[in-house]
Assembly symmetry: C2
Homo-oligomer: 158 residues x 2
DNA sequence: TCATTTTTTTGAATATTATTCTATTTGAAT
DNA sequence: ATTCAAATAGAATAATATTCAAAAAAATGA
């Protein structure tokens, strides 16, 4: 057992469940829901933030409303050694790149990219990806329709 | 031009940019940042919610803190006709399934799944995916390390 | 251009919430 | 049982959210 592991009790999990569903829920509402004093709830939320259990409060915006209709997965191979992940770090710097995963199997990385349209994706590949020398090949899969897209975790009861 | 398209001005985009970064930013802080009256900002936020530009306020929770250390992408083929997406809908019902995309190319769906460990993934495949008759094949790619994972959109200045 | 209508913003008032702090309680370890 | 640390409650105050009427700004159409 190392010092970094985190103990979450039933109350913490309830807080996380509620906050995951609605990050703008007021502390007062949280307290009512949990039948606790607002001060006690606030204390717990702050600790969850400090412990980095809560990573971020974010607003999900409709990509369509912003005209970002192209989503693609790109499987990449890289020439870098197994230890390093500089390629990944470079990819991560690109704002249109939403995800970078090092994957098992033939390819090295799975990259998720969102742009306005196919032209913008082409731009991105020509002007950004091509600058990363270690990338040796890419295989792009275009998303035709997204049926579900979230990162809600399954939070246990206890 | 149809009635569903949405016009967002510079102020709306600023609101979205700030809220995307921190969903729990107070309306008062927003107002200060934008140099507007709080009531005017509130009005805009409510409209963005109504127009579904703002989809949801969510809290990103560390998967590791909850012991959810396995992430996988599963490329699936389905026997259903091109028109239907029942397979996708069934997949979307499973809470561990975070994403379901209909993709171009040889495979039919790209599915992103998060579970506690490989045993839980096995469980999921045996007890849930196997129930969906239309799935004819799956190709699972395990994520070894996630370097970046977010769905922050690139919001234009204007 | 001007008048009209609609939308947006402001400012003020009130309701609600956030936050702080101290006292109390709880729970765990001895 | 006693001690200690952590968590909670409760009360007080600071800050924020929310509502609404009036004013301003923007859009519309003659």
């Amino acid at each position: 057992m190392n010092g970094t592991d985190i103990v979450l009790d039933k109350t913490d999990l309830s807080i996380l469940r509620l906050m995951q569903e609605n990050a703008r829920m007021t502390n007062a509402d949280l307290a009512r829901e949990l039948e606790m004093a607002p001060s006690a709830v606030l204390e717990r939320v702050k600790k969850l933030e400090q412990k980095q259990v809560i990573v971020k409060y974010t607003t999900r915006i409709s990509p369509v409303a912003l005209g970002q209709t192209l989503l693609a997965f790109i499987a990449m191979k890289s020439s870098e050694g197994m230890g390093s992940n500089n390629t990944a770090k470079e990819l991560a710097k690109i704002p249109e790149v939403q995800e970078v995963h090092h994957i098992a199997g033939e390819d090295c990385y799975m990259v998720k990219v969102r742009t306005a349209d196919s032209a913008s994706l082409m731009d991105l590949m020509r002007n950004k990806f091509s600058k990363i020398q270690s990338i040796t090949s890419t295989r792009t899969t275009i998303v035709l329709e997204t049926v579900k897209e979230e990162q809600q975790l399954v939070i246990p009861e206890k």
